[in-house]
């Protein structure tokens, strides 16, 4: 069982609410889901959709073929009917969208009318539609009713009752009305959590003890700020909206200097404004974590859509030379654990760490049975209070074997904590001489980098372990590449190499991935960009050149059909 349900409509019609409600209910009923969103940069009107996939197997990619379309606007039908599976159904309210469509695959459900009749208010139309979907799928309505109760209980019994009735009305109407429906939702395990990329990053930050978050709103990073703000009081975190991104990163650096874990996040345009601060964090050896949510550029580009266009920018951004961490999680689960690892390494090595994600990962929801908190890292590397030795001789930038100097905080001991964006001596005072400069570069850059390399995990090898065909990629394409391997491995010896820890670039000690690549007949680098940035990085770091490339730069994510098709086209030649 593997159904895709597309909820379509204008911005402001509430397709997201319908979608997220369904996702949540499916998750609770123990199904695996994957959802992704497609929306324009406007608040009302236009045409958006929310697509949700449900299956008894883990699913993590968008599919082109859809089984159910919930059309809240006319375009929902005209634009998407071609995607409908022969056995699929389109439900719509002819009265609301002022159009009727003939044919067995159409079911006209009077969402508004039913809402008024049973709930007493047109605004419950979406609840009707939600119920209808469950009805068509022949699933039990109980869990949905429970969720409705939870959602509206604050608003009082009456509202709950009305929504329940509206929901039932849609459910019953669809169940009865949908004669030609052949859907059967099978197999289900224990309840699943449903979580998106931005939620996972925010959660990872909280789980890492973030105490200060400053940012300027920017899609697709704003969700991180919203989630953290919702937990501000409960977890003792200050979330500050800065006047601009320059302020955001400098505030985060200030808070970190003062002794707490801090973070900021933005998208490419805002990151541009942060790169001077990135370099400042490196020079002052102040830990800071930066979320960079990619969207199609250059400039404003397609602000609500997706691309993997800033891999090399994030690795080489900032003036001067300094170590940094760049992680690009492939799923919410990776986002959660890698955010935690970024906080840990950033503080351990006193360097900036970048979480590179994109709109696709940010807004997509995945299901999990749960995450293991005990796998999280936490060490407070800071040097607090009078306790520790060397109070009087304390030097913020002391030269050490490892290049890591004790990180004390100002104002909580007699130590003076001094740092400078100018090149400085061990104490942190400005210098001009060549000798000190050289020692500081060796400490800050060479020694730390040497140690940092060992912290980096190799790429994930999934599929055949001596593959004829390798598809390689990074970040948010994890899910679609993995499913492609599952599909293709029936006929072929194929594997995926997925990189999520990108800088420092993983060495080959734990996994000689170039060896695997060299043995393979075809190696295809898959990127959601136009220039093949990862392929370039692979060449510069290992000298290895992929045999083929698949690029997508239309602002939309890969679908499994499209990716499989393109891979076939490549390996067909073999």
């Amino acid at each position: 069982m593997d159904y895709s349900i597309k909820i379509t409509g204008e911005a402001g019609q509430g397709i997201q609410t319908i979608g997220e409600t369904l996702a949540r209910v499916f998750g609770r009923m123990g199904h695996y889901i994957f959802s992704h969103q497609d929306y324009e940069s406007r608040i009302r009107g236009g045409h958006n959709f929310y697509q949700i996939r449900i299956s008894e197997r883990p699913v993590m990619s968008p599919r082109e073929k859809v089984d159910i379309i919930v059309a809240l606007d006319k375009e929902g039908v005209t634009r998407h009917r071609s995607e409908l599976d022969p056995k699929g159904m389109i439900i719509y309210d002819s009265a609301s969208i002022k159009a009727t469509f003939e044919g067995p695959s159409f079911l006209d459900i009077p969402f508004a009318e039913l809402a008024v009749a049973h709930g007493g208010d047109k605004i419950m139309s979406n609840v009707v539609a939600t119920g209808a979907v469950l009805g068509m799928l022949g699933m039990e309505i109980g869990p949905l009713l429970r969720l409705i109760k939870e959602t509206f209980v604050k608003k009082g019994e009456d509202i709950v009752a009305k929504n329940e009735k509206a929901c039932r009305a849609g459910y019953d109407f669809a169940k009865k009305g949908c004669l030609s429906c052949s859907f059967s939702v099978t197999g289900s395990g224990g309840p699943k959590m449903v979580i998106s990329g931005v939620e996972a990053i925010a959660l990872g930050a909280i789980a890492s003890g973030v105490r200060f978050y400053a940012a300027y709103p920017m899609t697709p990073s704003t969700g991180i700020m919203n989630y953290l703000a919702s937990k501000e009081a409960q977890y003792g975190i200050i979330v500050e909206q800065a006047e601009d991104e320059i302020a955001a990163i400098n505030m985060a650096i200030g808070a970190s200097f003062a002794g707490v874990r801090s973070m900021t996040a933005t998208s490419g345009g805002g990151f541009c404004l942060m790169v001077e601060g990135l370099s400042l964090a490196a020079m002052t050896e102040t830990p800071v974590v930066i979320g960079l949510g990619q969207r199609p550029g250059p400039a404003t580009g397609l602000p609500t859509r997706t691309e993997q266009g800033e891999l090399l920018f994030s690795i080489f951004a900032g003036h001067g030379e300094f170590p940094r961490i760049v992680f690009a999680p492939g799923t919410p689960e990776q986002a959660f654990y890698l955010t935690n690892k970024a906080f840990d390494l950033s503080e351990k090595y006193q360097i900036p760490a970048i979480i590179l994600f994109d709109q696709f990962l940010a807004d997509s929801q995945y299901t999990y049975s749960g995450w293991d908190g005990s796998k999280l890292r936490y060490t407070d590397y800071r040097f607090r209070g009078e306790g520790a030795a060397g109070i009087d001789r304390y030097k913020r930038h002391a030269l050490t074997e490892t290049g890591i100097s004790p990180l004390a905080l100002p104002g909580n001991s007699r130590r003076l904590v001094i740092t400078d964006s100018d090149e400085h001596d061990e104490e942190g005072h400005i210098i001009e001489d060549a000798e000190t400069r050289v020692r500081m570069v060796e400490k800050r850059l060479h020694r730390k980098t040497a140690l940092l390399k060992d912290e980096i995990e190799p790429p994930i090898l999934y599929g055949d372990h001596r593959p004829e065909v390798v598809i390689a990629g990074w970040g948010s394409t994890f899910g679609v590449m993995k499913e492609a391997v599952d599909l293709l491995s029936r006929e072929r010896s194929i594997a995926m190499l997925h990189f999520s820890e990108l800088w420092p670039f993983p060495d080959k000690v734990r996994l000689d991935y170039t060896d695997i690549l060299k043995i393979a007949k075809a190696t295809i680098c898959i990127e959601n960009n136009a220039t093949g940035q990862f392929a370039r990085l692979m060449r510069s770091e290992t000298g290895y050149q992929f045999t083929g490339h698949i690029h997508k730069f239309d602002g939309r994510p890969f679908t499994i059909e499209r990716l499989k098709g393109e891979i076939d086209a490549h390996i067909g030649k073999l």
Binding site: A242, I246, A258, V260, S262, L280, R384, P410
Partner: protein
């Protein structure tokens, strides 16, 4: 008790006769007057001659980027609002490159003390016009002289309802000391615009030029009257008023942020919080 010795820093790289020396002395006297020890507070500075200031005394120091003193100072205060934070900037630093942060730091009213070494010139980069340079002054990169209208930072701050706005003069160190002490005691964001002769590059606004013009606000001047303060702030020409031009008692950000009503962020437990209940919310 701290002594002048406690505040002896590196030897200044400023030009002999630079107005910054007067500010440095006044600052040290103020810290002594307040009985503060170097480890008790932090100075955030930018890049410029003024930015080198903290190296020439002793204190916790974050000498950051040109123009970015205020966001860093804000971050430090929000993480640890029990520690006094002083921001030191140049006029180019704070009114040029960093102008946007000034506007919003004033609005935010975080309890940071901002000292602007206003020499009406870009000193460290060899004499270009700053926002406070007088119209007409010729520089190497402005052969026709400055065209933009001279910025009046005091009027700007009054318009933004800044919690505490003063103008001082590097040549009047004891007055400056007393104003710094007053600012440190005031609860709220403080801007002290300090007229500072640059003996090398500003040949117009010299010690003599300033000394001829500055005067102290009358005893009965009322800094709480915003409209009057605005008029006084505009006084720039033959006479330059020194003192606290405007003051109000808006509550500070730190007191309005519930998250730190119990203790500063930096005092909260620095450990991995239990997130099990958060995860459960996703089911």
């Amino acid at each position: 008790m701290p002594t002048l010795e406690s505040y002896r820093g590196q030897t200044p790289a400023w030009c002999p006769g630079c107005g910054n020396f007067g500010i440095l002395k006044a600052f040290k006297d103020a810290m002594l007057g307040l009985g503060l020890e170097p480890h008790m507070f932090t100075i955030v500075s930018g890049i410029g001659q003024a930015g080198k200031f903290p190296h020439y005394t002793r204190c916790n120091t974050f000498n950051g980027l040109h123009g970015r003193t205020l966001p860093v100072a804000t971050g430090i205060r929000l993480a640890n609002h029990e520690m006094p934070v002083v921001a030191i900037a140049g006029d180019g630093d704070c009114y040029g490159e960093g102008g946007n942060h000034l506007i919003h730091a004033i609005r935010r009213n975080v309890n940071v003390k901002l000292l602007v070494h206003d020499n009406q010139i870009y000193g460290l980069t060899k004499g270009q016009a700053s926002p406070t340079t007088g119209e007409g002054m010729k520089t190497k990169n402005m052969p026709f002289g400055v065209i933009s209208e001279q910025l009046n930072p005091v009027a700007l701050a009054v318009a933004l309802d800044c919690s505490f706005v003063a103008r001082c003069y590097a040549g009047e160190t004891s007055h400056l000391t007393s104003i710094i002490i007053e600012a440190m005691k005031h609860k709220g964001f403080c801007l002290i615009d300090i007229l500072q002769p640059c003996v090398t590059f500003n040949k117009i606004n010299t010690y003599e030029w300033y000394s001829k013009r500055v005067y102290k606000l009358e005893k009965d001047y009322n800094p709480e009257d915003r409209a009057a303060a605005f008029v006084r702030a505009l006084e720039w020409g033959d006479r330059l008023p020194l003192g606290v031009i405007y003051r109000n008692s808006r509550p500070i950000y730190e007191e309005r942020m519930p998250v730190i009503s119990d203790m500063p962020l930096v005092k909260k437990p620095q450990r991995r919080p239990d997130t099990a209940d958060l995860l459960s919310e996703f089911f």
